[in-house]
Symmetry: C2
């Protein structure tokens, strides 16, 4: 118990997290491409030069944000499709799960939706990579389902990609209606639910 081997590293991580948090907050009203180094350090309450102790550039910080944001989105996507799927109650629960995640981590969802096609190439790449991995996991879940019997590998991946895209689109839609009146939010959830239902109807009749 003589020395806690981390007082220094702990402080470093704290500052790093402050930079990430400050950046994420600033990114609610702009794109990563326009995020300034000084802007971030100012918001985080540190000197501009301290930035370099953690990141090479704002693009580099963006890549770190991708890991943080999709580290929470990842399991969500996975669990959304995991319960066999098919019955309407399960789809409804999946939509609620997405809505809950958006309510809990709105900044993360916004960041991913915004930078997925954004102006910073390394960040786009990092997001794409994570989504491809998510699609792979979704494919594995789909493969377990008896409904997928007889499906080709390519078709499983095709459907997995469709699901991932649809989840992101749904999350983005919920994000837009976050501050909207209750009725509009309900309508959005209803539309998203029916879209997922239609996709799974298509899934059930795919091999006809």
């Amino acid at each position: 118990m003589s020395h806690t081997p981390g007082v220094r590293l702990a402080q470093k991580r704290k500052t790093r997290q402050a930079l990430l948090d400050a950046a994420l907050a600033l990114l609610e009203e702009q794109s990563l491409s326009s995020l300034g180094l000084r802007e971030v350090t100012r918001a985080a309450g540190v000197a501009p030069t301290a930035f370099y102790r953690h990141f090479r550039s704002t693009a580099d910080l963006g890549v770190a944000l991708v890991e943080e944001a999709l580290g929470s989105l990842h399991p969500m996507i996975r669990t959304t499709v995991s319960p066999a799927e098919g019955s309407d109650e399960r789809i409804a629960r999946a939509v609620e799960l997405i809505a809950g995640h958006v309510a809990a981590h709105p900044a993360h969802v916004r960041f991913v939706a915004r930078e997925r096609h954004g102006g910073v190439q390394p960040v786009r790449e990092a997001i794409r990579e994570q989504l491809v991995r998510s699609a792979g996991e979704v494919r594995d879940e789909l493969a377990k389902d008896p409904v997928s019997a007889g499906w080709s590998e390519a078709d499983l991946l095709m459907l997995a990609g469709l699901y991932v895209d649809q989840m992101l689109a749904t999350a983005s839609l919920f994000l837009e209606t976050l501050q909207a009146p209750e009725e509009e939010r309900r309508r959005a959830a209803d539309t998203a639910t029916r879209q997922m239902r239609l996709i799974s109807v298509g899934r059930r009749h795919w091999l006809d």
Copy 2:
């Protein structure tokens, strides 16, 4: 024939178009949120102050770009879904139509995909507005189809929205694979085709 009432306005429009073109080119490697006024005028070959004769701000220019970009995307989306849809050849033709549009107007597609969720609110709004209108037109086309007999108004709009999103996702996918080897492009087109097929299978069995 004494005076051509447009020599002046024609020159103004020419400069305006030069600004729009320069901006669109610059936006291939960044987001609108980081696009500078001076940067645009420099690329367009005019003085910085000339910018104000045409746009209030870069956000304002962005809104103008939305109209230009979706003025060409609009009819494409509409015609894609217009031929009754259902048979596989027609879906394949629709996918080819999208691929052709992406190849012909890559910068416009990139702009819309990037700024749809981008950091400039008025531009997001303008894009959303146009996409809502597109969805409305798609709904009208779907309603003409005998397959849609017995569908509620809400379900028609739900499907129209799904189609519009899917078209944009497909266009964005094609954009990424624009410079990729032939085989990868073929795979992307194949996946997109099957995704649309699955959606229309779901459509045909929706009322079961």
